[in-house]
């Protein structure tokens, strides 16, 4: 029993199960991730029957195989409760496994023969980053649906992480996302949370698809646009419809919804309208949308209602981090470029589908800066940070400060990696901000969209860590890495291992 922490299998009744905490977390996450990919593949295969059906066999075989394998392997993983670090590791592992597994679909079912590109496409899809390197122009409906639906899976996983895993994992003292009490009040148990969020997703997509059918968009494209909009993935096979004002306005409505906190949406649909519209974060979110749209409209120098709707659309695509690919205005100033980068960095409300820093955190930081101004005048004053009606705990403030520090560090390190390979400073910084905020597209200073396919393989790979950590709210990924490193260190130090084993088994 000396090596109990290492033990991979412990006999538990008739089934031998994986019992090491690290391996339980890793395998549990991986099985869920791969299982989801299998399900997605089966659905996509069936949907491909509406088109040529060429990809149906491949999708069905792949999907069925991996779902059966995962279902079978589940019995070998212990059902023990995971602690905080293990929960984070499980989520990260699940996310990475689905990305890796999905990249094989792109590798074998498209013309893409470069694994790095397949991996990038898969990561962009699951992290809901509006970047693509594969040309889906000639692909069947099944594959296009798979690409689009992966975004929904990624977005759904992220919101579940924010609503379920993070608050439940830290019942004792702290929270990583905003409104822990409100989250637990609204979704007291996991099952209810899962059901509620899934129903919100489903209803939003159905409603948006149906309304899009009133515009010159066919059903399949309407479905894709709805999924891309609600999941904040921003993937679309063509951008021709984005010029249409009615499409723009409908998608804008979708993006406004997806940028709202899931709590606010749930309160709205469950009739607690007053409680929902009282949210000060919601007010800030709308204020940001209005101010950004007006500034873009003024700077575009074009005038007219179509320009106003384009401004709103571009502002929302940035704030919600959806990132639909819309060509730049005729008059694209440097201020427009900076404003869009700022909006992408800030992102939408917390507990929404979007990425970025998120408005609640930004408000906490602004409150911290005001507190500092007050403290300069009254050094001994006890100044609490109050956002809306909520008094923010100091622990939460410190976490937000750390989040800001880490967020900036990841942007800087990614930008360094990109510029080393020859990218200009502007493009490097802009790409890294886009990646960590899981937004898109990447634009140059003139607003022209830079295709990621023009990037070198190294540059594309350099974006992946930022995309993944950005989608998983950064801290869980870092905690997972720290946990893995610490376990590896324990594994490599026999004396420490012995001590731990003695502690766990005094015999």
């Amino acid at each position: 029993m000396i090596f109990s922490r290492l033990s991979v299998r412990v006999n538990s009744g008739s089934v031998t199960t994986v019992n090491s905490p690290v391996l339980v977390a890793l395998s549990r996450g991986a099985l869920v991730g791969i299982f989801a990919v299998g399900l997605l593949a089966i659905i996509s295969g069936l949907l491909d029957l509406s088109d040529s059906g060429n990809d149906t066999p491949s999708f069905l075989i792949f999907g069925t195989l991996i779902t059966i394998c995962c279902a079978y392997l589940t019995r070998y993983v212990s059902e023990k409760k995971l602690n905080r670090s293990e929960s984070f590791l499980a989520v990260t592992s699940g996310f990475l496994s689905s990305i890796l597994c999905s990249s094989f679909i792109y590798l074998f079912m498209t013309d893409e023969k470069n694994f790095a590109n397949a991996l990038f496409e898969s990561t962009a899809a699951f992290t809901t980053t509006s970047l693509t390197v594969i040309d889906f122009g000639m692909s069947g409906n099944g594959l296009i649906f798979y690409r689009t639906a992966s975004q929904l899976f990624g977005s759904f996983a992220a919101i579940l992480l924010a609503v379920m895993v993070l608050p439940i994992a830290d019942n004792n003292s702290r929270s990583l996302t905003s409104g822990r009490h409100a989250t637990q009040e609204t979704f007291p148990d996991r099952r209810k949370a899962l059901k509620s969020i899934a129903s919100i997703y489903l209803v939003s997509i159905v409603l948006l698809t149906l309304t899009l059918l009133t515009t010159p968009v066919d059903f399949f494209e309407a479905l894709l646009l709805s999924i891309s909009s609600i999941s904040t993935g921003g993937f679309s096979i063509s951008s021709e419809h984005f010029g249409n004002s009615s499409v723009q306005l409908l998608l804008s409505a979708g993006m406004i919804t997806t940028g709202m906190s899931i709590l606010v949406i749930w309160r709205l649909v469950s009739g607690k309208i007053y409680s929902a519209i009282r949210s000060s974060e919601l007010h800030a979110y709308f204020l940001l949308i209005v101010v950004a749209s007006l500034l873009l409209f003024l700077w575009s120098d074009e005038g007219g209602t179509s320009s106003l709707s384009s401004s709103l659309f571009i502002a929302l695509a940035s704030i919600s981090t959806t990132g639909f690919h819309i060509p730049p205005f005729g008059n694209w100033s440097e201020a427009t470029a900076f404003l869009l980068l700022f909006l992408v960095t800030v992102g939408p409300m917390s507990l929404s589908n979007g990425g970025g820093f998120q408005i609640h955190r930004l408000r906490i930081l602004i409150a911290v800066s005001f507190r500092e101004l007050v403290r300069q005048l009254h050094p001994r004053a006890v100044v609490k940070i109050i956002i809306g009606d909520e008094s923010i705990k100091e622990e939460r403030v410190r976490e937000v400060v750390v989040f800001q520090f880490l967020f900036t560090s990841v942007i800087f390190l990614t930008a360094i990696a990109l510029t080393i390979s020859g990218m200009s400073m502007y493009e490097g910084v802009s790409s890294s901000i886009t990646a960590i905020s899981t937004a898109g597209p990447i634009r140059n200073a003139e607003g022209v969209i830079i295709e990621v396919s023009s990037f070198s393989v190294g540059e594309r790979l350099a974006l992946l860590p930022a995309m993944i950590s950005g989608r998983l709210y950064l801290i869980p990924v870092l905690i997972s890495i720290g946990y893995l490193l610490s376990e590896a260190r324990t594994f490599l130090r026999p004396r420490r291992r012995l001590l731990q084993a003695m502690r766990s088994d005094p015999r």
């Binding site: 905080r84 670090s85 830290d170 004792n172 003292s173 702290r174 990583l176 700077w299 100033s333 440097e334 201020a335 470029a337 900076f338 404003l339 700022f342 930081l365 602004i366 911290v368 800066s369 507190r371 500092e372 101004l373 403290r375 300069q376 005048l377 009254h378 050094p379 100091e394 403030v397 410190r398 976490e399 400060v401 750390v402 800001q404 520090f405 880490l406 800087f412 930008a415 360094i416 510029t419 080393i420 020859g422 990218m423 200009s424 400073m425 502007y426 493009e427 490097g428 910084v429 200073a445 801290i475 870092l478 905690i479 720290g482 946990y483």
Partner: protein, 503 residues
């Protein structure tokens, strides 16, 4: 306090007037007039004001007002000598340029509006010496200078120094505040003398050696030549300048302690160790990147060392012979520029003459992040953020966080306004960082061989000079200097209302 500060400025201009005597007396009359006018103003302020309330808000008002007034009167020599008057521009732009140069001088920023349109070398030595002297006076701090000669300030002296000094507070190095201020100035003056001597030995003329010593010790970066240090193209001079900058960018308390103990006490300071580590790593990385971009090993090492040191210490000299030459970092690759931007942002150590966010704040940020990540993993563990052997109190972390956030907000606002005024994003962003950090040059259109006139319109320069003042006083005193006047005016309005009601 403002009166004494103005008298010091007047004395500085008087010295410059004497220097102009050796130079065909080009600016003699202008400088003499400025000496008299500013001297009279200083005397007037000194005699007509008395020490009032010394709460925190009043201290901010006093320090902020002093810096504003000194910067304003600092334009007088430029205006009288017609330094920035040229064909095709109006009086408002001349005023903006004079104020920009004056603020850049006193805040020891080193950003300049001289350029190909109006060269430095075409100016008289009196004006040039005055320009260098403004940086020297501002480098250690006008308020520190005033406190060292004004014993009547007593306890509020430390508060005043604290409001002006860069970093998270000033440590007393002597029992009395006046003694502390004097010690700082003695070290500063001695260092200046040493640098001047070393520069002279390295091959500079007396005038240039003294002028550059003034702006090296203050980590200001003004030069008497258009191509700055690049004019001499001398490795020895560059080494002297680098050492000068490095010593000046280290906490002066460490220097004072070392002098007191008669042995170097620097290695025990965690901030010093981090600073040296960061600079060395920066030099190494940038040298490698420059070699990758096709520079020879020697050229890469020389240019990387000089420019990393000059930016990490917020010095701001350039060693490029011209635009696009080897030392012009604005023409280097994206990765090197991004690394240099890091140095532009963070600058040197607290309690030194350098600007920027400071390495200590970076270290506190790192230590705090590590602590929070560990405490999330182990919620029941009592984990402290540490720097060296010392525990970092939460109050200090909060102060640092508050400072960095306000800094960030100012950068975003500044960049947005500058880009809206038509400047490109990289120039705007680096210009904002550079001026807030009192750095001098930036990237894009405001590289080491460029003028701020090339990069920014007059309103843009006006905003940047405001940022230099805000950055020099580490943000808060400048932002809060209007609290007392605001309170007073509210009180007055209330009194008037009450009187009216009584009537």
């Amino acid at each position: 306090m403002t009166g004494i500060a103005l008298l010091f400025v007047s004395a500085g201009i008087a010295v410059s007037t004497l220097v102009s005597l050796f130079d065909k007396r080009v600016d003699f009359i202008a400088l003499l007039t400025a000496t008299v006018v500013i001297g009279l103003l200083g005397a007037f302020f000194f005699t007509s004001t008395k020490l009032g309330k010394t709460d925190q808000a009043s201290i901010f008002t006093a320090v902020g007002t002093t810096w504003l007034l000194v910067s304003l009167v600092g334009t007088i020599p430029y205006l009288l000598a017609g330094t920035f008057t040229r064909a095709g521009i109006g009086i408002p732009e001349v005023l903006v340029d004079s104020l920009f140069e004056s603020v850049s001088g006193f805040t020891a920023s080193g950003s300049t509006v001289f350029g190909l349109h109006n060269t430095i070398e075409s100016q008289g030595s009196g004006i040039l010496f005055y320009r260098q002297l403004t940086q020297w006076m501002g480098g250690m701090g006008i308020v520190v200078l005033v406190v060292s000669v004004l014993p009547s300030l007593r306890a509020s002296g430390l508060g005043l120094i604290d409001a002006e000094a860069p970093g998270a507070g000033v440590e007393r190095i002597a029992p009395r505040v006046v003694e502390t201020a004097k010690k700082f100035w003695y070290i500063y003056a001695s260092l200046t003398l040493l640098i001047a001597l070393a520069l002279f030995i390295s091959g500079m003329g007396v005038f240039d050696a003294v002028s550059h010593a003034l702006t090296t010790a203050s980590t200001g970066g003004f030069s008497t030549k258009d191509s700055s240090i690049g004019y001499w193209n001398s490795g020895a001079i560059e080494i002297v300048v680098m050492f000068g900058f490095l010593i000046s960018a280290i906490n002066y308390t460490l220097h004072a302690r070392s002098l007191e103990k008669k042995r170097l006490d620097h290695a025990s300071d965690p901030e010093f160790k981090s600073f040296v580590g960061v600079v060395a790593t920066g030099i190494l990385f940038i040298t490698l990147l420059l070699i990758k971009d096709g520079f020879s090993v020697g050229t890469a090492l020389r240019n990387a060392s000089f420019n990393v040191v000059t930016l990490a210490t917020s010095g701001g000299y350039g060693n490029a012979l011209g635009r696009g030459e080897a030392g012009d970092f604005a023409s280097w690759s994206g990765s090197t520029q991004l690394l240099l931007l890091f140095f532009i942002i963070f600058g040197g150590c607290t309690g030194s003459t350098s600007g920027g966010v400071k390495i200590m704040r970076l270290r506190i940020g790192l230590a705090h992040s590590y602590r929070i990540l560990r405490s999330i993993r182990r919620p029941r563990a009592l984990i402290q953020a540490r720097m060296g052997n010392r525990t970092i109190p939460d109050s200090l972390v909060e102060r640092v966080a508050g400072f960095v956030i306000v800094y960030g907000v100012l950068v975003i606002i500044g960049t947005l306004i500058l880009t809206a005024l038509g400047t490109d994003l990289i120039t705007s962003l680096s210009g904002t960082f550079s001026t807030l950090g009192n750095m001098g040059p930036g990237l894009g259109e405001i590289g080491p061989t460029s003028s701020f006139v090339d990069g920014f319109s007059a309103p843009g320069r006006l905003l940047l000079l405001l940022f230099m003042l805000i950055g020099r006083l580490e943000i808060f005193p400048m932002l809060l200097m209007f609290v007392v006047p605001y309170r007073n005016s509210v009180k007055n309005i209330r009194n008037i209302k009450r009187d009216t009601r009584d009537l």
